[in-house]
Assembly symmetry: C2
Homo-oligomer: 351 residues x 2
Amino acid sequence: MTRPRIVLDAMGGDNAPGEPVAGALMAAGVLGAEIILVGRKDAVEPELRGTGTIRDVRVVEAPDVIEMDEHATEAVRAKPLSSINVGLQMVKRGEADAFVTAGNTGATMAAALLTLGRVKGIGRPALATIFPAAEGRLTMLLDVGANADCRPIHLVQFAHMGSAYMERMFGLQRPRVALLSIGEEETKGNQLTLEVHQLLRGSRLNFIGNVEGKDLPRGLADVVVMDGFTGNVVLKTAEGIAELLFTELRKAVELTPWNKAAGLILMSELRKVKRRLDYAEYGGAQLIGVDGIVVIGHGRSNARAIYNALKAARDAVQNGVLETMRAVGKEVPARGQPGGEAAAGDTSGED
Amino acid sequence: MTRPRIVLDAMGGDNAPGEPVAGALMAAGVLGAEIILVGRKDAVEPELRGTGTIRDVRVVEAPDVIEMDEHATEAVRAKPLSSINVGLQMVKRGEADAFVTAGNTGATMAAALLTLGRVKGIGRPALATIFPAAEGRLTMLLDVGANADCRPIHLVQFAHMGSAYMERMFGLQRPRVALLSIGEEETKGNQLTLEVHQLLRGSRLNFIGNVEGKDLPRGLADVVVMDGFTGNVVLKTAEGIAELLFTELRKAVELTPWNKAAGLILMSELRKVKRRLDYAEYGGAQLIGVDGIVVIGHGRSNARAIYNALKAARDAVQNGVLETMRAVGKEVPARGQPGGEAAAGDTSGED
C-alpha cells in the first residue's frame, strides 16, 4: 500500500503553529505517513528549526489564516488562500489523502462541503466522534455539531454511515445502533426522534432502540445518532462536568497535608481517567459524508491530540473509509420510507 | 404564618414506601411543616411502627399505585385513586399546600396538569431543577423534561418564570438569564434558539446571551432555558459522566494498598463532590407553571433526597412561589412579539 499523505493545518487551533508542528514531529516516522504542514512558512519554519529530524514532513505555503472566532462561511469565501482552503484543495486534487485541523470547526465544515462536496447519496455530512465508554468500549456519536436542525432522513443516514464506519474501522459485526432520546420506550422523545425510531426499526441496521444521556458512557451501543444541536450539547456538557469534578478533586487534595499525600499517590490514576474523558485524546471528530477524509481536532489540541488526530486520519485512509462511505451513499435510504433502500440513481441532492 | 402542609407520595420511587417514609420522619419536627403521607395504609403504617415520634406526620389512604414504568397518561386515567391523583386532589381542594413525589415523572406531570391546571397566562408548565455550579452558585435549568417539543414563546415564558423564581426564592436582583445553545454568538444555534435569542434580547429580562453545555457548571447564569428534550439530555449526560468518573476512581483506589490508603483519606472529600453533583440532593425538580406547588424527586431518591424535596416544597410555599408565578402569568408575553407584554386579559390557552 502506498504511504498515506496527510495535510495538517499548521495554523489551526489555539496553540498554532507550535502544537500542530510538534504533533507533526511526533507523528513523523512513526505513523508511516507523509505529513504536509500547510500554513504561513514564516511562522511554521522557525518551529521546525533545530528539531533533529524532519523526515516525512514538508511545508506548503498558505498565506492566510482563518481565526478561531471568525464567521465560518464568510471567512471561507474571503480567504481562499487560508490554510484550511489550501489544504482541502490538495485533497480535492488528489495531492493528499486526508486533511487534519484543530482550527475553526464551522469554517472547516463549510470549506469541506464547498471544496470536496458531499458523498453521492448523502444529504448531509455529519461530525462524528468516538466517545470513550466503560471497559474500553468505543461508541461513535454523530452528529455532534454539523447540522443544528435535522430532518428524520438525516439521522437515518447518519446511522448507516456510523454503522459502516465502525464495521470498517474496528471490524465490528453488525454494530449496535441506538438513537439518543429521553427514555428507552419508543413512545418517548420529541417529534424528530419519534419518527427516526420508526424509520430505524424498519431499516436493515442492527437497531437496538433508544438510549438516554446517562447510557452514553456505558457502551451499550456502538453508534448513537442524534441531531447536531443535541450532540454538541452532549459533548460540551460532558466536558464541563469532567472539568468541574477535577477542579473539585484538586481543591480536596489541597485541603490538608494528608490529602496532598493521598492525592500524589492517586494522581497518575486520576490523570488516566481524565485522559479517557478528554475527547481530544481520541483523535478529534471526523466529518463523514463529505467526499474526502477530514478530521477536526479540539481547538485546545496539544501535540498529543494533534498526533492522535493524524493517526485517526491515517487509519481512515488505510481502512478505506471514504470508499465505504461512497458505498453507503449508493444504498442508503434517500427519503423517509421505512426500510426503503433508494435506487442507486436517486441521490436526491439537498442543501 | 400558618404551617405549610405538604403531601408526600409514600408509594413513589424505586425505594417506596421505605425511603419516602424515612424522609418524612427526618423532616417531621425539623421543617416546621405538616407531612401528609399518601398511599396504601397497609404498606405505609408498618414502616411507621416502632419509630419514636410521628409528630407532624399523618397518613391518608390511596389504594392504587402508579408504577415507575407505567404509561403516564393511561395510568393517570386508569387509576384515579392512585397516590399521585389523591395527593394532587388534596392540593387542588386546598387541603394541602404542596405535593412531593419521587414517583413516575410523566404521570405526575400529566396528573398535575389535569388536576391543578396551568397558571393563567402560561402556555406550558416546565420542569425546573437547580444545578450546583462552581463556588456554591446555583443555576436553575428549565425545561428539563416536561416539553419535548417547544415553540419559541414557551422558552421565553420559561425564562420569565425562572427569573421570577430565582428572585423570589434566593433574593437575587435581576437574575442573569441565559439560553443554552451551541455557541456564544447570536448566530449560533438551531432554528428554535436563534428565534428565542432575539425574543429574549427584546424582553425586559436581564438576558446575558447564549451559554454552552460546558458553561453550565460554571455558574455564569442564574437561569438557563432550553427545550425539555435538550434539558433531559443535559441532566442525564451529567449524571452518566459523574457515574463514569466515580466508577473509574473507585477502580483506581482498588489497584494497590497505597492507592487504597490514599483513597480512604480522600474518600470523604470525594463523597462531598459526588453529593454536589447528585442533583437528587438538590430537592428534585419543581414543576412550575401548574397552579400549585409540585416537586418531583429522582426515582432513586433515598431518605435524604426526599427530605430535601420536602424542604424545597416548604421553601416554595413559604416564599409564595405560586403567587409569584400567577403574577408572571399576568404579564408574560403570550406570543412571539419581541418585548411585547400581553394584555392581562390575553391568556391564550393552548395545549
